[in-house]
Symmetry: C2
């Protein structure tokens, strides 16, 4: 099934906030044409824009990877409800992955940053 | 100056959310007695509880490391205002660091997770 991956960040009214995610994902997105960055709210492109574009480009499924540190209301309720709606409206399969914060590699990086700081401190 | 480091997460009404941060910081906090985990809102202990406790323990300064992916309104306005208030109320020095999301190690880990996913996908 032709699948597009949407890297999903929360979004903010502050442009510097979304730039952090543009920078974080730039190298990966340059390497992978089947992926894009989108935002749950406040910033653009919205997740709905990204789903619509995937449909227009001929993708049959979108997989959403949340660039969130942990799973709360947004990832348990809001985003699943949005994906159900888009699935019905745009006739495209959707899948929501666990947030990157639950990935062991991210945990190790965070521990390393904290340890470095505390040893210096 | 006797300094305590507060690892600051956003907080959520969802207990699973804060557990993610308890797990993420457990190993580092076991190694470093001069550090603790606290939350900006909704979860406990609050950042104010952590500052009060630091003062009671004889610390002269708190350094706050935000466990946030990016800097938005919370880290530009809300947390600085809270720290100004605590500094005045508890007579303790305060310092707010850049969020972990701006640290190169975290960027590399996120790129790695995205790349692994996109290669598998």
């Amino acid at each position: 099934m032709k699948t597009k991956t949407i890297l999903l960040a929360h979004g903010s009214s502050d442009p510097q906030w979304s730039n952090t995610f543009v920078e974080l994902t730039r190298i990966s997105l340059n390497k992978h044409v089947d992926a894009c960055l989108a935002f749950m709210e406040l910033s653009t492109p919205s997740i709905e824009d990204a789903v619509k574009q995937a449909k227009d480009e001929g993708y049959e499924k979108v997989v959403v990877l949340p660039l969130f540190l942990a799973k709360g209301r947004h990832l348990k309720k809001d985003v699943p409800a949005m994906l159900d709606e888009y699935k019905a409206n745009y006739q495209i399969e959707t899948e929501l992955m666990a947030p990157i914060g639950e990935h062991p590699l991210l945990g190790e990086a965070i521990s390393q940053i904290i340890d470095d700081l505390l040893i210096q401190g």
